[in-house]
């Protein structure tokens, strides 16, 4: 017989001081965490509630305190979130915060973040992690070789150092102190405080590095570019496209081939059905049903095409309204930089001192890329080449008279 051993010691609980849980949580850590298949990047410890979701069962009603954005269910047995957000508890208080705040870095301790509203990351977003926000995303330090998507603004206090893998997307503006080796897309402006190097930048608005350098990068900015220094003396290529909307270009490339194929198909159907419609009496029932099918198919395709053309027209008008084909440089432009405007291209032949402005203009009916600067009394022309843009050429054929380029 073994000797008696003490495994637990302490006062006997009584009815008054017995330990209790005032709430039983009904939602746990993030969805991906619950899945054994999720990898370590996807796991996160955050409890995210949807609007109207029961987040906790009330065990001891008098021992809980409801904070903002929560209420009791009609029967008083559950705590329900009144907004979508992060569930927080402190002592006996429970509440939901609309803004998701990460106190440190986005790393293995947080996993990848996907949230329907604003996100604040106090630290950095580390390599290979993803942050997706339905509102504005603020990053207190840096974005490394990570992917960050914000439906509204993306505001990075430090650098976006993409290491050739970093990708950032913002529905509106994208701001950072320094951008290097990254791919960036923004619906409106991209603003960098000090420098942009070795990056691909696409923006529907203006690209601004007001006092810094734009170096060894490929930029497409619909509302123009403004920078301190453009290009560098090394052989790294700098290409700046101003007054051109890359998003419209992509939409055209994606939708116009299908549109043209559908038009051909519609024409073919019409050629097949037209003679049959003139001679309906000679058709047997099966042929009549087939003809109906073809007519309906053509009608559906016509409707699809009408909608696609409407979308292209709307986007084209929006892009044209925002287009500002100009490059403004405060300090200097290096030789070798290629500048493009709709239908035109030129390479800077020799270094130029700023402040200066590069823009397209018709000179004696001939489209030219011009430079105006304080050093020259009159604007002078750069050696200008025609530049053919397959997507925009196709778009001008679909929307004749709506897509204008300086060259046309």
């Amino acid at each position: 017989m073994p000797e008696n051993q003490i495994v637990l010691q302490g006062p006997v609980p009584d009815a008054v001081s017995a330990a209790f849980l005032p709430l039983e949580m009904l939602i746990g850590a993030g969805g991906a965490a619950a899945s054994p298949a999720a990898n370590h990047y996807q796991r996160h410890p955050l409890s995210i509630a949807q609007t109207g979701q029961a987040i906790a069962r009330v065990l001891v009603p008098e021992a809980i305190e409801l904070g903002p954005n929560v209420q009791l269910s009609a029967d008083g047995r559950e705590v329900v979130a009144t907004v979508c957000g992060q569930v927080r508890m402190s002592g006996k208080r429970i509440w939901v915060e609309e803004v998701l705040e990460i106190a440190g870095d986005v790393d293995f301790s947080t996993g990848c973040i996907e949230y329907k509203q604003d996100i604040i990351v106090r630290g950095s977003v580390l390599d290979l992690f993803k942050v997706t926000g339905g509102g504005t995303v603020r990053v207190g330090r840096a974005v490394e070789a990570a992917e960050v998507r914000a439906a509204l603004d993306l505001l990075v206090a430090g650098a976006i150092a993409g290491k050739e893998k970093g990708r950032c997307f913002a529905g509106r503006n994208l701001k950072a102190k320094h951008i290097s080796n990254a791919t960036l897309e923004a619906g409106n402006d991209v603003i960098a405080k000090t420098e942009i190097t070795h990056s691909r930048i696409i923006c529907g608005g203006r690209l601004r590095v007001d006092h810094g350098a734009l170096v060894a990068s490929h930029v497409t900015a619909n509302a123009g570019v403004c920078c301190g220094v453009l290009g560098c003396t090394s052989e790294s290529e700098t290409l700046v496209e101003a007054g051109m909307d890359e998003f419209l270009r992509r939409l055209s490339l994606a939708s116009i081939p299908k549109l043209q194929a559908d038009l051909k198909q519609i024409e073919k159907i019409q050629q097949t059905v037209k003679p049959l419609m003139y001679n309906q009496k000679s058709l047997n029932p099966a042929q009549k049903e087939k003809a109906t099918e073809l007519l309906c198919l053509a009608s559906d395709m016509e409707e699809g095409n009408r909608q696609a053309i409407e979308l292209l027209q709307r986007r084209s008008d929006e892009a044209a309204a925002r287009s500002k084909p100009e490059i403004v440089v405060g300090h200097s432009v290096c030789a070798g930089v290629t500048v493009r405007f709709p239908g035109l291209e030129a390479t800077i032949p020799s270094p130029m001192k700023g402040p200066l402005r590069i823009f397209p203009r018709r000179v004696l009916a001939e489209p030219r890329i011009m430079v105006s600067s304080d050093d020259h009394r009159k604007p002078f022309a750069l050696q200008t080449r025609r530049w053919s843009d397959e997507a925009m050429d196709a778009l001008s054929r679909v929307l004749p008279g709506r897509v204008s380029t300086v060259a046309s």
């Binding site: 029932p285 049903e289 003809a291 109906t292 007519l295 559906d300």
Partner: protein
């Protein structure tokens, strides 16, 4: 609005469904022949607001179906949608009680116009 589509061709019923979708909120029931249509009408908790009927179907054809429906129901609008284009057939269908007659091949627009015309007449009556 509740509509019953009676046609032995699933493709044709799908075409009619797509056309009727332009009317907005439409609840659609389908039958592959006249017998199935009668059973749907009998078991339906609410009366149909419109019935589209093909002429040539197995078990019970569209003409016979119209006659059977009109024995009990004189008000539900019925549209014959058929390949039968002869005058005698059209007259027979109208005599049986159809409110409108659409000959295949039709375009989606022409079918929609006939449906709207029929429903407007019904409302005005």
């Amino acid at each position: 609005m509740r509509v019953l589509l009676v046609d032995d061709s699933g493709t044709m019923r799908n075409i009619q469904k797509r056309v009727l979708a332009a009317l907005g909120q439409v609840e659609i029931a389908e039958a592959g022949d006249g017998v199935e249509a009668l059973s749907q009408i009998a078991s339906s908790p609410q009366p149909f607001n419109l019935i589209l009927i093909d002429w040539n179907m197995p078990n019970m054809d569209g003409h016979a179906l119209v006659l059977r429906i009109r024995e009990k129901d004189k008000v539900t609008p019925l549209i014959m949608v058929t390949t039968e284009a002869e005058k005698s057939r059209i007259i027979a269908a109208i005599k049986a009680g159809v409110n409108n007659y659409v000959v295949k091949p039709f375009t989606p627009q022409s079918l929609l116009e006939r449906v709207q015309q029929t429903l407007e007449k019904k409302l005005a009556a």
